[in-house]
Structure formats: structure tokens, C-alpha cells
């Protein structure tokens, strides 16, 4: 999943010569929290609702007024993403820098914006299942071919996989599948017989 699939486009921007009051009004009217700042079409900064509140707060050393230019409140230069970056790379940048958005720049041109909300959308698409399915969780050994062994096992039984996620844990690679089957317990029994470590469904306490 690439940034260009999840970013918002076109982007609402504000000129570097605009005032803080104008920026506030724009954020308010459009329900945004992040506003790229441009100078003759070039991205020069990012202005968030938090920047505005801080810059105009009486707790600030030199509080700005509504008539001051946005250049005094914006963050500059902004961190940016490329439209062909994987979303997880964008997520890592935002997490490491604790920022809420990344303007997306292609060949020096601002082409979109990716916010934390868009990453939540990405998470829902990646993990969400829109078709009837059951959850199967298997602990795989961290070596080549284990996932293939699991999917081949399901393919042999003609069980369609709707989604598959893996993530590392200290002991094993935890693999969560949503499969198009109502018969998950018999399937889990077969997997155990074939030597897989099935984490869900667990054996019933009263089964022998």
C-alpha cells in the first residue's frame, strides 16, 4: 500500500503571506488540523491548529496576533513523503517525529497530504474484512517456507483466505488469517495434526 493510495488530494494550502487570522478561519471553516504553507506554489512550511494556538497563547514569550503572517507560526522546513513511499514508511516517520501529517511532494510539487487519520484508514483496510470469515491464528517458525506451508495447507482444502497478517513475537511469527469458512475448529484440529501451532481457536477445556 503506497502513500499515493491513501493521501488526500488536491490539498488546501495557504500562502506564506497570509495572516494567522486567515489561517485560523480556513482551518475552522474546512474542519482541518493541518495546512501546508506555500510560497509561489512551493511548499515552505506546515501550520497546524496546535501551532496557531501556541503562537497566539498568552503563555508564549512573544504572542502573535491575528494580523501577523503565518510564517511566524509555521514549522519549517516540513518533513515530506514521496507518493511512491510505502504507507508503513510514512507511518514510521510520523511516529518517530511525533507529527500528525506529511505533505506529499513529487518533483518539487505538492501533490497531496497524508495525516494520522489516513493511516487509521489504511490500518482498517489492511486488517478489516468485509466478507464473512473466521479468525485463525497460527505461530510459525521464523524461517523460509513456513507461511507457504500454511497457505498450501489451506489451498489443499479449498479454503479461501480473505486477509493474512504476520507480526513478530519473541517466540514465533504470529500469523492471523481471516478465512472464508464457518468450520474453523475442525480446520484447527487438522492443522494441529499436521504439526502447526494453532493459537486460535484453542482446544476446549473439556475436549479429550
Amino acid at each position: 500500500m503506497l502513500v499515493k493510495e491513501m493521501m488526500r488530494s488536491p490539498v488546501t494550502v495557504i500562502s506564506v503571506e497570509a495572516t494567522i487570522g486567515e489561517a485560523f478561519q480556513l482551518l475552522q471553516d474546512r474542519g482541518f488540523r493541518h495546512l501546508p504553507v506555500v510560497d509561489q506554489g512551493r511548499l515552505v512550511g506546515i501550520l497546524t491548529d496546535r501551532d496557531l494556538r501556541f503562537a497566539t497563547s498568552s503563555f508564549c514569550h512573544t504572542p502573535r496576533t491575528a494580523e501577523d503572517p503565518v510564517s511566524g507560526a509555521m514549522s519549517s522546513p516540513p518533513l515530506t513523503a514521496d507518493p511512491l513511499d510505502p504507507v508503513e514508511d510514512a507511518a514510521r516517520i510520523m511516529r518517530e517525529h511525533k507529527i500528525g501529517c506529511l505533505p506529499v511532494v513529487d518533483g518539487g510539487e505538492l501533490v497531496g497530504i497524508l495525516t494520522g487519520m489516513d493511516l487509521l484508514d489504511a490500518l482498517m483496510i489492511l486488517t478489516g474484512v468485509t466478507k464473512p470469515s473466521s479468525r485463525l491464528e497460527v505461530a510459525l517458525t521464523d524461517r523460509p517456507g513456513e507461511l507457504a506451508r500454511l497457505t498450501a495447507f489451506l489451498a489443499d482444502r479449498h479454503v479461501n483466505i480473505h486477509s493474512i497478517l504476520t507480526y513478530p513475537s519473541p517466540e514465533a511469527v504470529r500469523t492471523v488469517l481471516r478465512v472464508a469458512s464457518n468450520q474453523i475448529r475442525p480446520l484447527a484440529d487438522d492443522l494441529r495434526t499436521a504439526g502447526f501451532t494453532v493459537l486460535w481457536p484453542i482446544a476446549k477445556p473439556w475436549q479429550h
Partner: protein, 377 residues
């Protein structure tokens, strides 16, 4: 007393010997009822017509069922949920499914005509079937066709689903219909098929608040289940004031069911069946249409649904299973079957983590009610 709807053709809804949704369950059930000294005289309902199926299903889906039934090869069958391990293709499946729909529909018509107020359809309960696809052993949605007939009559319909699995097909078919309240209690979709039935699924548009889901933790037992039921169902029915109650009475929430993880006992089911009749008396002038549903452990479903039958017929529930019945069905009943109609007490060893499970269920119910009261006020 209730009107019983059944005909031998229901046994034709058969996905083959390896499939859990086997019609042998019905034969065992009827034989047990008879062996307990209760001859039945069921009403044989006509099959639903193609047009009646189309009251809830897409024409393209029905045409696909018919084509596959004729033996035509259709590579796109799986997009309609057909030809899968859950819903294999078998000859005669269109008519087999229409017999089941016809029974539920006939039951609805008996209620509408005022012939009876209590109807038990001994079969069906195919709640996973969607508008445009088969799913989870369900081809045509008999419940939805019956509900639609009641809606067309001008009634408000409350649908109650106690199957182990979320009643996703019925819910989605009426998700925006403010004449239909759907309530489903089920093992949480975080794990179990079909993966839906979360408390946030509340209906849409004017039907917001009329889709009610009570997802329960794996290994939820009677006490917590009934607590959740009582916290939500009576209030929802009172707010909606339906004309009729349609119930999917699946038996797979039983602890011994091979497909799921809830831990109800036959005693819990009897309490539920009685409570459902009380709620019908209180909210729908006694009008209730009950179908069967999921349930995949032979010795369990025969006992649970016999208890359902006896309860609906106002008959006493005896202690023992008849020896001749046990002898006849031993090959399907297996070693787990006892000698009594009810489960032994205790039915299974104590399950660790009960307090934690019950608390989580209470939290879920509290969150659900927080959302619902906005629409109830």
C-alpha cells in the same frame, strides 16, 4: 400449543456426508419427540416460489443457484458464495432451499391470518444468506423472506437470533429498514465466523438503533449469557413494540458444539425458550415464529430442539431419554450422550477465567446500552 411446520423434503437440503449441516439432525429430532410419546401432525407448507425468493434476494444470485443446480459450469460461482467448502453445490439445491423458505413463509402467513400465534418451523434458520450470495451453509434466507412478508402486511417485526453465530444476513437485509428490529446474541466476531456483529453495527438512516448486537466472549456460560440477554432484549422489544417476534433458535451455543466456543447447557436453552415465549406474550400478543438454525453435535441438537418443541407445545420436559431412541441412533450420538434429556450438572469441568469473561461481557453490554439509549430516548 404451537403449529408445527415440517415436511420430509427438508431433508433434501443436504451438502453431503462430510458436511456438518446434515439433515440427519432433523430425523433424530423428530424420532426423539415421537419416542417421548408425542406424535406430531406437522403442516406441510408449499415451497417458496421464485418470486418469493426475489422479495429479498438478487435475481442474478437466484439465477446462479438455478444454473448450478442444472449442472452448468460457472467459474464465477464462488463470487456468489457457491461451490465453497461451506456451501457446496448439490443437485436439487434450488428446490431444497425453497422448501425451507416456504415453511418459514407459511409460518408468517399463519400468524398474519391469525390462525395461530405460535409457529415452529422445524428446519431452516439460514441467517447467513445475503442478498447476493450464499454464506455459512445458508443459501436462501428463509427468515428474511418471512420477515419481509410480515413487513409487507404492515407489521413491525422483531428478529431475535440466539444462534452461536452473528445473524449477519438478516441484519444486512434490513439494516436500513425501520420496520425491522434485529437482535443477535453470538460469540464475538473478533474470532468466530462471520466476523461481524460488533456493538457498533447499529443500523442506518431511520433504522439507526434497530440493529442490536450482543457479542460475547468465547466460553461465556449461562449466567453471563442470560445477564446480557436480560439487560438488552426486553428493553429493546419494549422500545420497538413489534407486532411479531421471529426467532432463529440455533443450538450451537451449546458447550459441546464442535464449531464454536460458547458454553451454554440444555438448561440454559430451556430458560431461553421459556423467556422468549414470555417476551412474546408481553410484546407481540404471543405472536412468535421460531425456526431452527445452527447446531452441529448430533446428540446436543436433538436434545436442545426437543426441549424447544416441548416448551412451545406446553408439554412437560421429561427426565430420561427413551432407550429405543438411544439404540436407534447410537451410531450418530456417540459416547458423549448421557441417559437424560438435560445435561448432567455440572455439565463440564469448571472453566478458568470466568470472572474476567463475565466482566468483559458486562463492559460490552454497557457500551452497547450507552449507544442505544440515544435512539431509545
Amino acid at each position: 400449543m404451537a403449529t408445527l411446520i415440517y415436511r420430509p423434503e427438508y431433508a433434501g437440503y443436504d451438502f453431503g456426508p462430510e458436511h456438518p449441516f446434515t439433515p440427519a439432525r432433523l430425523s433424530m429430532l423428530l424420532d426423539l419427540i415421537h419416542s417421548l410419546g408425542h406424535p406430531t401432525s406437522p403442516v406441510a407448507a408449499p415451497a417458496a416460489t421464485r418470486e418469493e425468493i426475489l422479495s429479498v434476494h438478487d435475481e442474478a444470485f437466484v439465477a446462479m443457484v438455478e444454473a448450478l443446480d442444472r449442472g452448468e459450469a460457472r467459474p464465477e460461482a464462488e463470487q456468489f458464495g457457491l461451490g465453497t467448502p461451506d456451501n457446496p453445490i448439490f443437485p436439487g439445491m434450488d428446490l431444497a432451499a425453497r422448501w425451507l423458505v416456504g415453511g418459514a413463509l407459511h409460518g408468517a402467513r399463519l400468524l398474519i391470518a391469525g390462525t395461530d400465534t405460535r409457529v415452529l418451523q422445524l428446519g431452516g434458520g439460514l441467517h447467513h444468506a445475503q442478498k447476493d450470495r450464499a454464506a455459512g451453509f445458508c443459501m436462501y434466507n428463509d427468515l428474511a423472506v418471512a420477515i419481509q412478508a410480515c413487513v409487507d402486511h404492515g407489521w413491525r417485526v422483531a428478529y431475535l437470533d440466539i444462534d452461536l453465530h452473528h445473524g449477519d444476513g438478516v441484519q444486512s437485509l434490513f439494516y436500513g429498514n425501520d420496520r425491522v428490529l434485529t437482535i443477535s446474541l453470538h460469540e464475538t466476531g473478533h474470532y468466530l465466523y462471520p466476523g461481524t456483529g460488533h456493538i457498533q453495527e447499529l443500523g442506518t438512516g431511520s433504522a439507526r438503533g434497530l440493529s442490536v448486537n450482543i457479542p460475547l466472549e468465547p466460553f461465556t456460560e449461562a449466567e453471563s449469557y442470560l445477564e446480557a440477554f436480560e439487560a438488552v432484549v426486553p428493553r429493546a422489544l419494549a422500545e420497538f413494540s413489534p407486532h411479531v417476534l421471529v426467532v432463529q433458535a440455533g443450538a450451537d451455543a451449546h458447550f459441546a458444539d464442535p464449531l464454536g466456543d460458547l458454553a451454554l447447557t440444555t438448561q440454559t436453552f430451556q430458560a431461553l425458550h421459556r423467556r422468549i415465549l414470555e417476551l412474546a406474550e408481553a410484546h407481540t400478543q404471543g405472536r412468535v415464529l421460531v425456526t431452527l438454525g445452527g447446531g452441529y453435535e448430533a446428540q446436543v441438537v436433538a436434545r436442545v430442539w426437543t426441549i424447544l418443541y416441548l416448551t412451545l407445545m406446553d408439554l412437560p420436559v421429561p427426565e430420561d431419554l427413551p432407550q429405543d431412541w438411544l439404540d436407534r441412533w447410537q451410531h450418530l450420538l456417540g459416547p458423549e450422550v448421557g441417559r437424560t434429556l438435560h445435561d448432567p450438572i455440572p455439565a463440564y469441568p469448571e472453566l478458568p477465567g470466568r470472572a474476567e469473561r463475565n466482566r468483559r461481557n458486562q463492559d460490552v453490554v454497557a457500551r452497547l446500552l450507552d449507544s442505544l439509549v440515544r435512539y431509545w430516548l
